[in-house]
Subunit: 258 residues, 2 copies
DNA sequence: ACCCAGGTCAAACATACGTTTGACCGAGAG
DNA sequence: CTCTCGGTCAAACGTATGTTTGACCTGGGT
């Protein structure tokens, strides 16, 4: 009667199922669970209304599976790769932090999966449900732990809790732009889709954070000069207007355009 | 026919109207516009369903008026008073920033109006509507401008945009805890309702931010010792366990010694 | 006395919701 | 061919939504 459907099968299933999940991710992330109607959802997915019952059983389980899938995609997002091989020197760690923050803003500029993950996470945070656990264990926690790992190199004496607070301070600054984007853009004159602006913001967050972590100015300067040849790194000079289109340099290639 | 109702009359109206607005603020802030049903709302308010039509005209206009009222209450919230009389010395500015951040966490610990404002703001940011403008002009903008004014004292050479980014870096850290509270609490072991914990977090954000603003360590130390007699300011010493119930000094005078 | 505006109430309104049903189609097995 | 099974489809299900209606009560004005 009801456990006949393939429900939460792991492997990628039919195209119908995937279309459903894609549309669900897009809409749930944009407007939240309650604000999305199934008819609108299946219309966007291009499938029949009954498909959701067949493949998932109910709207709620579609949502849960959507969140699960989105959160698990974290591991394949290139941004976190900048933190992955835990750096050994202070210089490397500072550089990793800079690249990480820049990567966040590159992804957010591209309206990518990161936005969907973050928005799903936020909706869950504001109105928690069964999906919260998934969000925490497979998204939030790994992120702050990875970042804390890098920060640990920068602050040798700190204990776990202190590192966690540091990591959250860095993430909080970036999250602020990611989640409150419409407000920030309307409030300030900024437009986060311009590469120059988002780059400036990213670098501001990076330097602000490195200083907050008591990293020496020399290291900060070196870390900011990571990708360009040398280019006066510090001081509020307007960043190069439109020359660099791929702000991430070394760690792995960041070309995720799709 | 429809503009007969008193709609958006300014002065405080009937108790019915106020009960409606109170319940609306609570529910809309908690679950968002779409997730709240009128019947649930009027039940919580203890009034008849038709009252919303009579006093506001529709659910949408009830919501708009709710947001407007919540955002305008900003001026009467004591937290921002810590920033109001723009300090003249670096020490006073640093102290103001510390007290401000601490005040934020005190309010958030009390589940106060601040949470409602912030949550309404966030819902608007994630799914913008006509109310976004109100949120920006009467809440977001004044806040970052007030904070930027204080920061301007700490960073004499900075231009407007730089000050704005600094202000957002500070606010972003605090917002992160306010908005993602359920996630943070489940992810870390923290409990933000404990005064000791929230005080530690607030002080961490304050010091992190002051260092991010290149404030000298001496000033940082002095600013953190604002309310207590002197008490080893830095180094994560356990804050006073349960002695201070009102971490904010008097609104005008920020020398909190009492 | 009458009237009328301010305000509340239960009931009905039309629509939209999530869910369910039963028919239908194509392909593989016997 | 027949039978079954994975999968899709339009239509209907019952309920919950936001909104509207018209009766009703109350208190002052004249």
């Amino acid at each position: 009667m009801e456990s006949r459907a393939p429900h939460a099968v792991a492997g990628d299933g039919s195209p119908t199922r995937d279309a459903l999940l894609d549309a669900a991710e897009e809409l749930f992330a944009a407007h939240g669970y309650a604000a999305v109607g199934m008819r609108e959802l299946v219309a966007r997915a291009g499938v029949n209304l009954s498909a959701v019952k067949y493949h998932f059983g109910s709207k709620r389980e579609l949502y849960l599976e959507t969140v699960r899938r989105a959160m698990q995609r974290r591991e394949s997002m290139e941004v976190w790769a900048a933190l992955e091989p835990r750096p050994s020197t202070v210089d490397a760690a500072a550089k990793a932090l800079v690249l990480f923050v820049r990567g966040l803003f590159v992804m957010m500029r591209a309206r990518s999966e990161l936005s969907a993950c973050a928005r799903l996470m936020l909706h869950e945070a504001m109105d928690p449900s069964d999906a919260l656990e998934d969000v925490v264990v497979s998204f939030t926690r790994p992120n702050v732990e990875a970042l804390a790992g890098v920060i640990a190199v920068l602050r040798p004496g700190a204990d776990r809790q202190e590192l966690e607070l540091d990591a959250r301070s860095v993430l909080g600054q970036a999250l602020h732009y990611l989640l409150l984007r419409p407000i920030v853009e309307r409030s300030a004159g900024l437009s986060l889709s311009e590469s120059g602006t988002s780059r400036e913001i990213a670098d501001h967050i990076a330097t602000f954070s490195l200083r907050g972590l008591r990293v020496s100015e020399a290291v900060v300067g070196r870390a900011l000069a990571a990708d360009g040849p040398k280019k006066n790194p510090i001081a509020a000079g307007e960043g190069a207007p439109a020359s660099h289109e791929a702000p991430m340099g070394d760690p792995d290639r960041m070309e995720g355009s799709r």
